[in-house]
Symmetry: none
Subunit: 193 residues, 4 copies
DNA sequence: GATGAATGAGATTTCATTCAT
DNA sequence: GATGAATGAAATCTCATTCAT
C-alpha cells in the first residue's frame, strides 16, 4: 500500500470506490475484487495499492453512509427548531429531505440499508432520530398522546426503507410524492372522517 | 418397527432441509453445505443423494415459504367473506393471523423475506393480497376513498416485515400486541382528535 | 477438513507429511504447498483435507522433532544412572546415541535444528540436558571442577549440530566415528601430554 | 558544500545497503524490498536505480562478509608468523581477534553465517584458515599429533559461530571472555589432571 | 443409504519489479 | 536523483461437487 497523491492515482482510487459501491450494491459482499478492478481498468494488485483489503473498502463505504446519515440527523434536528410550519408541512418536508438523501447516493444507500451485515445499527440510529423528532411534536400536542413513539418511529423507518427500495431508487416515485403519501397516510389514518 | 431403510432416508432428507433452513436463515445464501451436512450428522456426498445442488435446496425452502404464503392468502380471503366484525377487529384479526403465520416458521420466514435474492416477488404477492383485502373494505366504505390502496398495502407489508424482524422473531412482542399497535396506528392515524 | 480413517486417506496424509518434511528441510518454510501436493500426486485442495494450513503441518513436524528429543532426553538420563563404564566410554556412548538419533530422521532433524524459527528453544533444551549429564560427571570427579558446564554444554551441542549438518547427514561420517572424535577432542584436549 | 547531487545518490545507496543488511539479518532472505526502501525514506523504484535486484543487494552483502573474512585470514596468517608467545596466549589472541571481527559488523555476520543459503562456503573457508593455523602449531609440537586438524577446525568454527550467535552478538559475553573459555576448554580438555 | 477421498474453479492477497515522467 | 502508478506471477486457501465403493 502506497500513499498516492497525484491526479491519476486519486482518480483510480475514486474509480475503485465508486465501482465497488456499485458492485456491492448489486451483489452484496460477495462482489468480487476481480470484477471491481476489471471495471476500473486495473489489475488485481492495483487494488491493494489503494485499499488494504476487501473488507476495508466495504467498511469505508458503510462508514460513508453512516457519516452521511449522522450529518443528516444533525441538520434535521437543527431545522426542526427553527421552522414554524403546520405539522403536516413540517413532517412532510423532513420526510422529503430523508427520501432525497436516500436517493442521492443510491449505491451507498443500498449498501447501508440492505447489504451491510450490521445494518441494524444504522436503522436503530435512524429510528432514534425519527423518534426524537416525533416525541417533540407529540409533546407540542400535535399527536395522540397514547401513541408509543418508538413503535411509530420504527414503522415509519421501515416504510421509508421499503419505499426507497421499491419506488424511490427504481425511479417510480419522487421524494416529494412519497413524502406526501406517507404523511397523508400516517397522520390522518385510514378511517373515513 | 417397519422398514427402517426407507424411513431413514426420508428422515435424513428432512433433517437436511430443516438444518439448511436454519443455516440459510442465519448466514444467508453463503451458508456452507459442509456445515449443513455436519450438523445433520452426514457426509457431503450424502447431501447430493437428496438434493442435486445447493441452489436446489435453497429454492425448495423459498418455494416452501411461497406455498405457505399462498395458502394463507386463500384462507384469508375466504375468512374475510365469512366474518362479520367491526372493521378494527376484522383487520386486527387478519394482521394477527399474518404475524402468527410469519412467526410459525421463523427460519422459512427469514429466508423468504430477507435472504431470498428474489424476495421482491413474494413481497409483491403479499402486497397484492393485502391490497385486495383493503380494497374490499374501502369499497364497503370503511376507509377514505382517496387512499391509494396499493401504496397503503406496501406500507403495511413493510411494517409487518420489519416488526417481524425486530420484534416478533426475537420474541419482544406477541403477534396480538403487534396487530393491535399496527391497527391503531394505521387506522386512526397519528393526529389528535 | 474431514477425518479420514481408511487406508488410502491415511496413506495420503502420511505421504503429505513425509514430503512436507523433505520440502521444508530442503527449502525452509518457503517450501510451497503446491510442490508438496504435486509430489504426493494430489491436487491443492486435498492438502486441506488433512491439514488445516501450511503453518499447521510445519508445526506438526517441529513438534514431532521436539517430542523425539524429549523422549531421548528421558531415556538418556535413565541410562546414565544404570550404566557403569569408564567415563570415556560412557560419554561416547551417549554421544553416539545422540548422533544416531539425529541421523535417524534427517529431514525432521534439519527442520528442528535449522529451519524452525524457534529453534533456539530446542537447542536450549538440548543444552540443558547435556549440561545436567555433564554436571553429574563433574561432581563424580571426572572433570575439572573449574569448568563452566553450561558453557561446555553449549560448545558440545554446537559441535553436534554442526557435525550433523556437515558430516553425519551427508553420510561422510558415522555416528560412532563422530562420537569417538568428539570425545577424544573434548575430554583430552589438544595439548600434548 | 560541494556537489550534493552526486553525494546524495551515494548516500542513498549506502543507506539502502545498511538497512538491507539489518533487514536481512533480522528476517532472513524474506526481508521485503518495500520495508527496506521505506526505512531508507525512498520509494521502490529508487531501489532499482542502485541495485538491479533483490538478489543482487543480498549477494553484495554476502560478498562483503566474504571479503572481510578473506582479509582477516590474510592478516591472521601474517600475524601468526611474527608473534612469539606461548601457545595458549597465541591461540587466545587469534580467537579474540576472530570474535572481535564477528562482532564488529553484527548484521553482516548474521547474514554471512546464518542467512546466506550458501553459508557452507564461507564456513569452509573459515575452517580451512583455522585448520592451516592449527596444523602449524601441531607441526611445531604444541598439539597431539594424532588429532585430525580438519575435524578440530570444524569443531572450533562451529563453537565460534554458536557462541557468536548466543553470547557475543546479544552482548552476554565479551570477545576476550569467550576466547579465554574456548582456549581453556579445547586445549586442556575436560579431564582432571 | 451412505462414505472416504479427491477435485475444478476460483477467491483474496503478496511481492519483486517496471514504465513514464 | 527520484516518484507515482501499475503489473506479472504466484501463493494460500475455500467450497460446491463428484467418483468409486
Amino acid at each position: 500500500m502506497a500513499k498516492p497523491s497525484r491526479e491519476k492515482g486519486k482518480a483510480s482510487k475514486t474509480r475503485l470506490l465508486t465501482i465497488a459501491a456499485s458492485e456491492f450494491a448489486k451483489r452484496g459482499y460477495n462482489a468480487k475484487i476481480s470484477d471491481i478492478v476489471a471495471a476500473a481498468g486495473l489489475t488485481q494488485p492495483a487494488f491493494y495499492i489503494y485499499y488494504p483489503s476487501k473488507e476495508a473498502i466495504f467498511e469505508e463505504l458503510v462508514q460513508a453512509f453512516h457519516n452521511r446519515v449522522r450529518t443528516l440527523i444533525e441538520n434535521s434536528l437543527l431545522d426542526s427548531a427553527t421552522e414554524k410550519q403546520n405539522v403536516y408541512e413540517h413532517i412532510k418536508t423532513k420526510l422529503e429531505m430523508f427520501f432525497e438523501f436516500l436517493s442521492a447516493e443510491p449505491d451507498l444507500t443500498r449498501i447501508g440499508l440492505f447489504v451491510d451485515p450490521n445494518r441494524a445499527q444504522v436503522r436503530a440510529e435512524m429510528v432514534r432520530m425519527v423518534q426524537e423528532n416525533l416525541v417533540k411534536e407529540q409533546q407540542a400536542g400535535y399527536f395522540r398522546s397514547n401513541l408509543d413513539m418508538e413503535f411509530v418511529a420504527e414503522c415509519l423507518v421501515s416504510m421509508i426503507e421499503q419505499l426507497t427500495e421499491t419506488r424511490l431508487l427504481p425511479g417510480l416515485s419522487s421524494a416529494e410524492r412519497l413524502a406526501t403519501q406517507v404523511v397523508d397516510l400516517l397522520l390522518k389514518g385510514m378511517i373515513k372522517e
